[in-house]
Symmetry: C2
Subunit: 541 residues, 2 copies
């Protein structure tokens, strides 16, 4: 039969080559020809697999066997940790009334265009194969805003979470260890509400998620765009320089004040005394005490923007007190956040473990090479979650009415948890071989004869009773191989059967974690009591 | 401040336009210029949003507000059904010892090339932005085989499931209602085992999944590629025509025998008497009785391929009897399955509800327009799951050694459940507004005064005790709006607070599903007993 297949394939290959030749002669469309060539390649690969490629390719792969650059497979052990992280976070989100939605992995190119400033060049585009121009999503926030603009009339009060992959074609030189495909985990509250109530619940949710993930000690830095803008105004920053200066300030977690000041003055042309005034403010860190200090600063409170921001922050602190999370916050005037679209409070959670090595040693990192492989590009270096209020993004999608107002404006506040960093923290806590990636509770083992059908019968009875069971797919498996499989998969119980015992209506049950019993151990019970005995034992585990 | 922002944006736009002009003058790379243009577009959109676009675009969207063709958003109600389907299926998979892995959404183009025959033209390619050529995955099987070829030495005994999206750029004319992005749900067993043991467990898993999904009555058609190939051989089909004739037979679930015969003879040049002989075989359907009939057919049993297939099937039926699922199977000689890579048993589950309207009426569908929007392209029309054994696919990726053998050959057997079709069956069973997409258990309602801080305190106490609670984000919410929110979200319990009651240390709890109590109803209890009372009530629900 193999010879028949080979001949048949060889014939198909000749026919396909003829077809391509004709398409070329007839000036067919390139995409059509390409498809036929792909088909031809496949036939040749099949033939190679069948013949062992002996005609020309012996000892060589026909192609590169790898995943695309910047992407990786996640094996069963890694997925077990991922699923634990996702379910922990999802549980918190659902406790706070969240629902989930799903958006496509690619969007029309124009939906994403111009939302990410100069990072737009990192967007992956789909090839032009006729039809619309599309791009892979860069984050989950822009698709969410697009969803709200399309469906928002039904979703004016909406708590939604979305855990999914996003795509960034980071430049090789910039991306040592940065993944091009990675998970984001977003929670957002959309709707027009009274001041700071939703904002405070987002912070509450963030603390619950981080506590339950057991990532260690963390601090949530908070600030308010309106306070920051007010500071820049009263210090004398010209209006057109507010965004660039704000993005310089945002680097204070990575650079020294001297370097940031240099960027402000030399690169961005700010007078030195103005930079110094800013320096006095952005060095400030504290809690409600700092808030009171700022409120006592008349220069600041006379500024409309700062005054509104300080009022918001006062309300926020009242709510944080009620939710008992004020002690986890640090009001930090140097926090500015990169994205342009924030309009209210902004925040960023940092853990001890999330600082890159150079920072922990108090050194200034020269390149991004210091960051670990699972560095999360949604949040700044060293941070494990970040977010803020963005009241105008939905309006950018909704179009405007005749009065020149957005057709639909839905204020939003949200947080993105840097799950890739959480994974890497949790993975580093344990050895891969100690992670149980399956949930199997019972392994059915035969002693002596193969007893395949008997093992199948027992497994079937266990499955019927919702007990997770496996057995070896061999007619006559060796005993030690069965024990090895059981141990490798960390299966807690074994049901052991032998011909003699079965004839007496008996089986043995062995607790695999009690080493002292040895491989011959276990207790003999009536076969009829098997399910109940196993359920009782599992209930105690 | 808005005026400042506008001016600042206008300045940035002018600067950006200048930058692009310079890049063009300097003949910069197109991708760089494109990125800057994208950035410029974004700035203009921001300005439009701020000014209401009144300068030129009043009343018009700046761009098309939609998802890309063939893709759609899934809202919270749809996601609630999806999550239920996924968790039901996942539970079954885990009961049978499965683990999950994750592969990237795009692969190197050459990994996918030529695996899908002429359907290769439906593969989405990423744009050439420098670097590797990549394509979106077309299914989950080829990436799984690639994973095994890369990591297989550690995964020679492997039950894995993978639920994820795949991408097919189906031609508009062919795709009425066919999605370009849709979920697949695959379960596969990889490894070298004794005959038909893993195969029978796959069929057991499929029956458990379909039973638990409550999709209604179903039948699993089974056949064996070796029996089919044997039939073609003994009927006198020339070797090079076996695949084309097999794919004609596969259409018997959609076309009449006359039409299939026409395809065999007129299109594919088979002599009429050969086609008639095939017709006698492929019309056969049955169970073990049919198997015995075929085994009594000496013409067939003398054929090596058919003989091996019949032996496999006999073993399989023994195991299906043990697993108590033989009655759900139909041995069906017309089942051929489209994909080339199957080498052993093949199967396809059909439900009453999965037949398209035209078939249900006994008519021959002329176009695919009859299929519903969530038609699943992994499986044939009318089928809800499908799969088979593919022993050579991994070897196609592993390359060959000096002896011309694949470096690694891992036999596999698997099934793909058509979850999109399952969703559409389940969604059609209920009204969207009856679906509870959140899990909130308690809504905290205030009567009279707003009592925001008091509501927050109560919500905080409930969260601390793992009770899922929400409240309205308003300082002074109206009572009827609170009831409406509670009802719309199908929240079963309300905690009602009022100033007088709080002063007495009391609150009210109301069961929202007991209509007779009216809005003023509920029982008054001590605030101290609130958590216990709620837990007791939830335990009874």
């Amino acid at each position: 039969m193999a010879e028949n297949q080979k001949e048949s394939l060889a014939l198909s290959i000749r026919a396909q080559e003829e077809k391509i030749k004709q398409l070329r002669t007839n000036n067919a469309e390139t995409t059509d020809i390409d498809a036929e060539i792909a088909s031809l390649k496949g036939l040749k690969q099949q033939l190679d697999a069948l013949t062992g490629g002996k005609k020309k390719k012996a000892g060589k792969n026909a192609f590169t066997l790898k995943t695309a650059k910047g992407t990786k497979d996640h094996n069963d052990k890694e997925m077990a940790i991922r699923e634990k992280v996702f379910s922990t976070i999802t549980k918190v989100f659902k406790k706070h009334g969240a629902v989930t939605i799903d958006t496509p992995v690619f969007e029309l190119k124009e939906i994403l265009a111009g939302k990410y400033g100069e990072d737009s060049k990192l967007i992956y585009d789909l090839a032009d194969q006729g039809g619309e121009e599309c791009s892979l999503r860069y984050d989950l926030t822009v698709p969410f805003a697009r969803f709200l603009a399309m469906n928002g009339k039904e979703y004016q009060n909406f708590k939604r979470y979305h855990i999914a992959k996003v795509y960034r074609r980071d430049q090789p030189a910039m991306t040592k260890g940065r993944m091009r495909e990675f998970y984001q985990c977003d929670f957002d509250i959309a709707g027009t509400y009274d001041s700071m109530i939703a904002d405070s619940e987002i912070l509450k949710i963030l603390t619950e998620a981080l506590d339950n993930l057991e990532v260690g000690q963390y601090t949530i830095k908070i600030n308010h765009r309106k306070i920051l803008d007010g500071i820049f105004e009263v210090c004398g920053v010209p209006e057109e320089k507010i965004r660039p200066i704000s993005s310089a300030v945002d680097k204070l977690d990575k650079l020294s004040w001297e370097d940031v000041k240099k960027e402000m003055t030399e690169e961005k042309g700010l007078p030195s005394d103005v930079a110094d005034k800013i320096g006095e403010y952005v060095k400030l860190k504290g809690s409600r005490d700092l808030l009171e200090k700022l409120k006592a600063d008349e220069t600041l409170t006379k500024n409309a923007s700062a005054s509104k921001g300080l009022e918001d922050m006062t309300t926020l602190f009242d709510y944080l007190d009620i939710f008992d999370i004020t002690h986890k916050m640090s009001l930090d005037m140097s926090l500015a956040r990169g994205l342009d679209y924030y309009t209210g409070i902004i925040y960023e959670a940092v853990t001890e473990k999330s600082a890159p090595p150079a920072m922990a040693e108090g050194k200034k990192p020269k390149t991004k090479a210091n960051s670990d492989e699972l560095d999360e590009s949604t949040v700044g270096v060293g941070s494990i979650a970040a977010g803020g209020r963005y009241d105008n993004l939905v309006g950018m999608f909704s179009g405007v009415n005749k009065k020149g107002q957005p057709n639909l404006q839905i204020p939003c506040v949200g947080v993105s948890i840097g799950v890739e960093r959480v994974f890497s923290i949790l993975m580093s806590k344990q050895k891969a071989e100690d992670i149980k990636s399956n949930e199997t509770e019972v392994y059915v083992v035969s002693v002596g004869d193969g007893l395949l059908k008997e093992r199948m019968e027992i497994a079937n009875e266990l499955w019927k009773n919702d007990i997770k069971a496996s057995f070896m797919f061999k007619n006559k498996p060796k005993l030690d191989k069965q024990w090895n499989a059981c141990e490798k998969d960390h299966i807690p119980l074994a049901v052991i059967i032998g011909r003699d015992e079965l004839d007496k209506g008996e089986i043995r049950i062995k607790d695999m974690r009690s080493k002292d019993e040895g491989q011959g151990g276990g207790v003999t019970i009536q076969r009829n009591n098997m399910v109940q005995e196993i359920k009782d034992r599992l209930a105690l585990m």
